[in-house]
Amino acid sequence: MKVASMLLAFALCSAPVAAHEGGHDARGVVTSVGPHELTIKTNHGEEKFVLTPDTQFVKDGSPATAQDLKASDRVVVHAKKKAGRLEAMKVQFKSAERPKKR
């Protein structure tokens, strides 16, 4: 009984504390976009995000693709840290507004 209690106590004490999965969000302006990488300018400087087949692109609330994204577009990027890189999970943007006719 004593041994079992000690084993249980050991197991409880040695259980590692689960780390919360960290994410990273950024708002900025696209400076370049390629098939595998997106670079944006934020007020903290340039940030690079890896684009994967799982990256979700959303334009005006509808599904889109990386090809719809252009330099100077405003974007909101939701990313996760993976192997020392920022992997974009979701990239949101809007259609560029046309200049109003006078």
């Binding site: 919360h20 999965e21 994410g23 708002r27 900025g28 934020t42 509808s62 405003r74 949101q92």
Partner: protein
């Protein structure tokens, strides 16, 4: 007397086996949910789940006709109640799903899709012991109808469209902080905040 001796021997072997197995599990990772379930555990748990579902449920067919309305009802309920562990697309790739023990299964795969309608219904209504799956049913007709809608939606998961996934994201429960951030994102995208307004804080869920 002989029978009694055999029964006692079997009992001793079973108790010893359970003790050794339990000790091995404790030494392998204690009670931590971080270690991957062993193949034996996965196989035994799968068999036990199958055996644990009453045979009468295996014969049940979904009484709700598969329609856009039924799928939409199931989709909305899934987004609100299930997606926190199962993810909107049923992949189980959420912070909760990845870290439960056993891991949340990918509902799109044959292991789930090959279960009978009644088996899925039973699991939703009654939950599964020693897993993260709670019992959602309260025995009412309303609860049963909701569970059947979920069965309809689970069958549709392998064909989920990006549009449906986005619709579900709008229905996922959000904290006041998440609502505030969404509004700020929208303002920024509309151009009402200076460009380059980035947020750098690490995001924890």
């Amino acid at each position: 007397m002989n029978k009694l001796c055999i029964a006692l021997a079997v009992l001793v072997v079973l108790v010893l086996g359970a003790t050794v197995g339990g000790l091995a599990l404790l030494l392998r990772g204690g009670i931590s949910a971080k270690v991957e379930p062993t193949r034996i555990e996965v196989a035994v748990a799968g068999k036990l789940r199958r055996v644990g579902i009453p045979g009468s449920f295996r014969q049940l067919r979904n009484p709700v006709a598969s329609s856009n309305e039924a799928r939409a009802a199931g989709r909305a309920h899934f987004a609100d109640h299930c997606a926190i562990c199962h993810a909107n697309d049923g992949s189980g790739q959420t912070e909760m799903g990845r870290n439960l023990y056993p891991r949340t299964p990918d509902l799109r795969l044959p292991k789930t899709q090959q279960l009978a309608d009644g088996e899925l219904f039973y699991i939703i209504e009654n939950g599964v012991r020693l897993t993260g799956m709670p019992a959602w049913g309260d025995g009412s007709e309303e609860s049963k109808r909701t569970s059947w809608h979920l069965v309809t939606f689970i069958r549709h998961l392998p064909q989920l469209t990006p549009e449906e996934k986005l619709e579900m994201e709008r229905l996922n429960p959000k904290s006041p902080e998440e609502w505030r951030e969404m509004q700020e994102d929208e303002k920024f995208l509309k151009g009402s905040e200076p460009s380059g307004q980035g947020r750098k804080e690490p995001r924890h869920h």
